[in-house]
Point group: C2
Chain length 234, copies 2
Amino acid sequence: MVAQRPARPPRPTDDVRPRALAAATRLFAARGFEGASLQDVAGEVGVTKQALLYHFASKEELRRAVLGAMVTHWNEALPRVLLAASAADDRFDAVVGELLRFFASDPDRARLLVRHLLDRPAESRELIASHVKGYVAAISSYIARGRERGTHRADVDPEAYVAAVLQLLVVGVASLPVLDVVLDGPRAKAAPRVIAELRRIARVALFPAEAPAPAPRRPTRTRSTARTARRGDP
Amino acid sequence: MVAQRPARPPRPTDDVRPRALAAATRLFAARGFEGASLQDVAGEVGVTKQALLYHFASKEELRRAVLGAMVTHWNEALPRVLLAASAADDRFDAVVGELLRFFASDPDRARLLVRHLLDRPAESRELIASHVKGYVAAISSYIARGRERGTHRADVDPEAYVAAVLQLLVVGVASLPVLDVVLDGPRAKAAPRVIAELRRIARVALFPAEAPAPAPRRPTRTRSTARTARRGDP
DNA sequence: CTTTCTGCTTACCGACTGGTAAGCGAGTGT
DNA sequence: ACACTCGCTTACCAGTCGGTAAGCAGAAAG
């Protein structure tokens, strides 16, 4: 009577594939694609190399799957993020803030992306053209309109600006564990300081001066910037 | 009876070492340390792998030599750059401009640095602490003084700012061959557009608004900004 | 001449790489 | 009972990796 075989009816231990993707993401991000072997990935998952090769026909396919999972994750999360941000009063701060939390929530994906850019520029161009360019075009056209209205700086180059800011956020997050060396304060506070500065740089590069006076003690407008303004130690 | 062995008296074909360093720099930057084999490097130099291993006892030592050559090159060139810049009227624009030209003049070194940050965070921290932190501290204390005087923005976090801008310049240059995908204009003009925008972002994130009106058509003060301000196509 | 050193080359090496082939136990369908 | 597929495991492979050992041509020193 059971005529349907929908997708994956009785898969008891089918969780090795997602776990392999997670482990591969971590290892490829940490050591690079060439630096992490199939045995390393298999070892972290707790299976043999051949079990891995059963799920992914080749290492190259594992790579594609890892990258595919990354863009899938982003394509699912980003529209929600951008929509939520566009509802807020200060769209830009919300978008940048969400992007930062987004990348910072798993730096491995940011590192993976940077490595991919370095390892495979040609494939990266395709990936960007098919999955990133749309976002960039939307945001930059929005910026261009704001520029015409005078709500955004007149000297901004929208597309280049978005590209630069995206880059800044991604590698800022990717290199957080190294960046704190140049900061003087307590190392624990380094990450939020850098992130706050990234937000500030992105913001002031887009908006005209809100206060002509040089010392705006008041957080200007949003309450999220209030947290940004404080800096710690004497 | 020969007591003197000065340094390297008669070395006819001793140029394999510098050529190997150049080739290794290129290959490590392009494929990563694990992705480029000793044979690859040797092949590019035109010698055998064992000839390479004669000059560099191990691949790891080749890596150290490549990185050492990079920091040596920078330590020789940077002070000259910074001094020349500090003589100019608009110090900041000059410094950023020189840094950009500096990194853009050989993107391989920028890529190599980014890869090193990803591959060996711990060693990168040491390298930064010993060779970069000094520059950052000097520039950021200079910025901090400017901030007190009101010539720099009050909300800037000097150290975090310098770290972020350095990062922006380095990876901006490293990822130039990929970035142009998101730009609409002619691909040939992409690099200068992105670089101009990087300069603009770094500048406006540091200096207070020069004109309270939203449309500053006049270059306000320096003549180098006049060149920066122009954007190409309609 | 002989000795000694440099800058290689040839010949190997074991470890490990990604990948293939075949088998096999457990569950399922008929 | 049977065949069949799934999800592996064991066994094995050729190729490449970084690295070692020894020899060898040539120049320099005695």
